[in-house]
Subunit: 709 residues, 2 copies
């Protein structure tokens, strides 16, 4: 599948890696006479994106091109870029995004069936930009590329912390840079309803606190996404997660109570009453309005985390269920879903739902039994329309069950970037988890009740899906739930880790080298920043706010080793609400710190290093931690908001002192060894929702000194 | 005027400084039970701004308040903030913005006649935030404050580089933080027309290249400004600077030619034909539309830099002038202005124009003579309507002539922040330059033909304006012309220097201590960043783009000493256009570098320092420059876009070597002294539109070593 030229020791600095590529030793030099011409059938999108590419090239190289405007009259000249496009691509599922890209010394050729393919090619080309003492060039390459999955999405939720237009736009720019093609725009939940409604204006008037997109803004967002070849899918989460709707229109509720917007995070009881016709009259108008705003053929109706409690509390609803033979809440929800899907069908839309809309509620033992027996029809609700697309968030089994029962599906389990897990975990999560060479990550913590079964089968070489069934899996979606992020921090929760997910969904499945992924991710991360993402630059800004001064490098020296606690640990403390300050250490620290990865590498090489200079440098680093702590304590003493950072800094100093002592003591007693091991263990306990990530590399460093302990 | 308590050695960290204040040693401690209540007559603006204050307080302190939502039911409790407001302020010139603020240990009281006054008070209060080991508090203070001038503006031009909504919003937030109250929104010029027009849609369709504010966006901006007590004044520059209009509607032009949008910067000939009735029919519809979008009572009609050449080229226009006895282009322009003002009057608007609309074109000697004789009526055009407001951009004399002839005026000369001059210069420029204790800066470079006359008169103690005339001067406006800035760099051209202008326009004229201004500006600068301004954080980002890697600290070490060349030097190189990369060293370097000011201080103290540790530190710093250069050259060698920074780094290393040599040689010969003076002279020559600002402090440092040379 790959053509390699032996002289290249590593993969090119591309992310996602193309399906097929070969590099060569030529390069196309860039002068201020560089030109871009477009041939074939292209509309304004292609010209506009080519112009944007040209401008970005100018910004990065500092070359003064006479113009970066690409028009139908722009001529090709030797050493320039020629783009050949057959037709304008449609923003529909499965549209052709393939392209060919050839870079040789005499010029560059992009060939694509659609302009969307050419737009993808431009991102690849910009990543091939290099320089040397003589100037700038594009690296010689021959690329044939196409995505593995047609659905490569990112969900952004608007109800918890509202993300204004500039956040959405810069996210779309960054998505395009890593070839993602679906923005899942999550509109409604217990905390707010975030787009204007002309048919039910109380939705935005009462249930948004002024934080919503107008119709014009929704169109502006969609046009911006369209420009980059990105579809936008709306979600109105129903029938649970609907407090905002019920606050505005309480007559739709299953239970009479005083509804008010939720300020807390979690799963709440308020649920739309699915037994009343007025519910469907309301939803008919509302969903028709939303459907008309979002031109995409898909529409997400939610369906997750309906507690069903409000339904059971209402005798009329219980009677309705009995009368219709709807034995479970899920059966009632399926009735509701079918009605809603009917409305959407009228609007020409295909519905998507979270996996609850398909999967039966079964006891673990029963479910496992069916799964082991591959009795997949028993795992799902009967009578769910076959055109409902399933978004799997609770586990792989929903994906497999969907495919085995003839449903299309999208994977999100494993791509929950709000859980601040490492990119490697997301990267190794594959939507098609049954190939012999593709094993899902075996971290027990991340496996649900079914996934150990899946692994067992995979290890036995059992193929769970046929080739046809495999095609039912459309791709995946990273989910940026915004409970614990604000417009200031969201970028550092999305990027750069989502680039690893983008590669998983675009590149061939065999590309799974984690170390190489990180190498390329660190490069692309910096480039994403040029598009406006704040994931790097806001770290220092947030520290400056807490310190109330410009000079914060001593704080940065600590925070670079801190990572926020993973998973939902933060949610388990109930004091977080919409009013909490998301400006603190746990918001400043980012997952997957580069400094931690670098340190791990550095420390792991210490043991085998014969070079005493190298060893000296490691000891020097430990001494710097000690010195740095002095500066931190000075700065932090009168500033309570820095107390947690100061506490981690104290630990860092203590660990450094200990480390220096151990490294300089060739013959420690076992009791001493136990002592430093205990200290490391203590230092691993989170403070302020953050873990000090030097502990593990340091433990390994010291253990190498005492390999038998 | 000031009440000082002796224990406070310096001014409080406030900017602008209040009109009257006293500090005390109490403080109001902030707990999570902090509350805000509002009494009197306030509408949603007051509640919303109080809520925003509360949220910002939470973000900076990390305190988990149960809520930061302030509503009419919010109750005061001891230690909280009580706001008393008599009425909702109007966004009109001269509205009451005064307030009283008392902070004592038992709580805080804000009293204001209008909510706008209370909003100003909230910004002062937030600047009084402090902390110690025991927690956060507001400093005890007793403040009675009101602005000196009613017009404290910032102009942002949209035609050159378009500034999208997020730039405007964060600028409005920062303006509010330093109590500015006018955004001058400059819509139209030779390079583009930047708002939607429903009456003449070609304006945005043809003449914006898609970069414009829709009507909805204009309203969004105005609502955002209104929320912060900021007026928004539109400018449609007429009859020159009108290529964009003539490109869309060439029948309005004075000369038939192929009009196209300008990509270059400068003054161009295309001018609207003021002799045709169709011009006024067009302007009637257009200005009525724009006037209806911007609710403010003032409307700017431009009037600057009309070359008049196209008028002279057109025999019909020449004939028109002759027939009407309009002897000069200026007379014709005044005819045009009166027609345009008639249209605006119908819309209920008062017109503003740049000083060309009033000042006669006179030979220098004649003008100077009139000025010396205080024959001010001869300096202006006759028959200019008295209700035209003059914006003085070419010199103080327009301000004085306006006031002496009964015209209201606004000063911008001296506040041209696009010229990247130091804040001290802007700070010392006073719109009322005739007080004995207020001398305009005597930097010859910044004086025009009249200003030396003004200084001469001031020195003689001559009062140029009576108290009544003085009141005709409404205030001033910083002008952010956007030829050489983009959305990435505009913040660093506006902030923090504009905070110094804001203080000049708000605070009493006696507050003129430049060192203290810089001390406070550096503090406020960091706080402005919390509102979204990128003036600090984008420096590193821009360097990362050029370096294409994350680690750029060695580059920052050089750039912190670089300042872009002042004035219009950059314009004089004709290769700058809309397509130029504004991502280079001169865009990354900022005016008035803090590091340069710190260095100057440090070096100046070297000579008198008896402390050898101190001297050692200075020499250590010079050695760091040498070491740093090694890192810079390594990094920059294969990256052409870093060549200019590398060149400055080379200089820095050479200067450091030389400095170390001189400092360690107690008895240099005169020839050697001449040698290093020559080297310093050479190092002062700009490279890449930047000056290495260590030269002057270093020269002083070395000169102190050899005081006789």
């Amino acid at each position: 599948m790959f053509t390699w030229i032996g002289v290249f020791a590593q993969t090119p600095d591309l992310m996602p890696l193309p399906a097929k590529y070969s590099l060569n030793t030529t390069s196309c030099r860039i002068t201020n006479r560089f030109s871009i011409s477009i041939q074939g059938n292209a509309d304004s999108r292609m010209y506009s994106e080519a112009s944007r590419f040209f401008q970005r090239l100018s910004e990065r190289t500092g070359i003064f091109f006479p113009t970066w405007r690409v028009t139908p009259t722009s001529k090709y000249s030797s050493g320039g870029l020629q783009i050949q496009v057959l037709r304008t691509g449609q923003l529909v599922l499965g549209e052709d995004e393939s392209y060919q890209l050839q870079v040789v010394d005499s010029g560059i050729l992009i060939k694509a069936n659609t302009d969307i393919g050419a737009i993808r090619a431009l991102e690849t080309l910009l990543q091939l930009l290099g320089s040397d003492t003589k100037g700038y060039f594009f690296r010689g390459a021959n690329i044939e590329d196409a995505p593995r999955f047609p659905w490569r999405g990112l969900l952004i939720s608007q109800p918890y912390h509202f993300m204004p237009m500039d956040v959405i736009k810069r996210t779309l720019d960054a998505m395009a840079a890593v070839k993602m093609n679906v923005l899942h725009f999550y509109i409604s939940d217990d905390q707010g309803y975030r787009i204007e409604s002309k048919v039910y204006p109380k939705l935005h008037e009462m249930a948004s606190e002024g934080q919503y997109f107008t119709h014009a803004q929704v169109k502006e967002m969609i046009a911006y996404a369209h420009q980059r070849g990105i579809r936008v899918i709306p979600e109105v989460d129903l029938p649970g997660h609907s407090t905002a709707i019920l606050y505005a229109y309480p007559h739709l509720a299953s239970i009479k109570r005083d509804y008010t917007l939720q300020d807390h995070w979690g799963v709440f009881d308020p649920t739309i009453d699915p037994t009343k016709e007025r519910t469907y009259i309301f939803l008919d108008s509302l969903l028709t309005e939303v459907a008309s705003l979002f031109p995409d053929a898909y529409f997400h109706i939610g369906g997750d985390e309906n507690t069903g409690r409000d339904w059971q509390r209402n005798p009329d609803i219980r009677k309705f269920m009995k009368d219709r033979g709807l034995a479970t809440n899920l059966a009632l929800q399926n009735y509701f879903n079918r009605r809603v899907m009917g409305i959407l069908k009228k609007c020409g839309k295909t519905a998507i739902g979270w996996d609850e809309v398909l999967m039966r509620e079964l006891d673990d033992s029963v479910a496992k039994k069916y799964f082991e027996e591959e009795n997949f029809s028993k795992l799902i609700e009967p009578n769910v329309p076959k055109d409902l697309v399933i978004q799997s968030w609770r586990g792989m089994e929903a994906l497999i069950s969907s495919a085995r029962n003839g449903y299309k599906s999208i994977l999100s389990k494993g791509y929950y970037i709000d859980l601040v897990q490492p990119a490697s975990y997301h990267y190794l999560t594959d939507p098609v988890p049954y190939r012999n060479d593709v094993i899902i990550p075996d971290s027990e913590a991340n496996l649900n009740r079914f996934e150990s079964e899946i692994i067992k089968k995979l290890k036995k070489g059992i193929r769970l899906l046929s080739e046809e069934q495999e095609k039912m899996i459309l791709g995946g979606e990273a989910t940026m739930w915004t409970e614990h992020v604000t417009a200031e921090t969201i970028d550092s929760r999305i990027w750069p880790r989502t680039a690893a997910i983008a590669e998983r969904l675009w590149s061939p499945p065999q590309i799974r080298d984690v170390a190489d992924m990180y190498r390329r991710m660190d490069i692309i991360s910096v480039q994403l920043e040029f598009l406006g993402s704040t994931h790097i630059k806001n770290t220092a800004m947030l520290l400056r706010r807490l310190a109330n001064q410009q000079e914060v490098s001593c704080l940065q020296s600590v925070v670079q080793y801190l990572e926020p606690v993973q998973g939902y640990q933060r949610n388990q403390q109930n004091n977080f609400t919409r009013f909490s300050p998301y400006t603190l250490m746990a918001d400043i620290a980012v997952p997957d710190q580069k400094a931690v990865r670098d340190l791990t590498k550095r420390f792991s090489e210490y043991a085998k290093a014969k070079d005493t200079v190298w060893k000296k440098e490691v000891r020097q680093l430990l001494r710097e931690w000690i010195d740095n702590d002095y500066a931190v304590q000075q700065l932090a003493a009168p500033i309570p908001a820095l107390a947690d950072i100061a506490a981690h800094s104290t630990r860092l100093r203590a660990l450094a002192s200990m480390g220096l002592e151990v490294l300089s003591s060739p013959n420690l007693k076992a009791t001493n060894i136990g002592d430093w091991q205990k200290k490391l263990q203590d230092a691993a306990i989170p403070i302020g929702h953050c873990e000090l990530k030097v502990v593990e590399p340091l433990r390994k460093l010291l253990s190498n000194q005492y390999p038998n302990n």
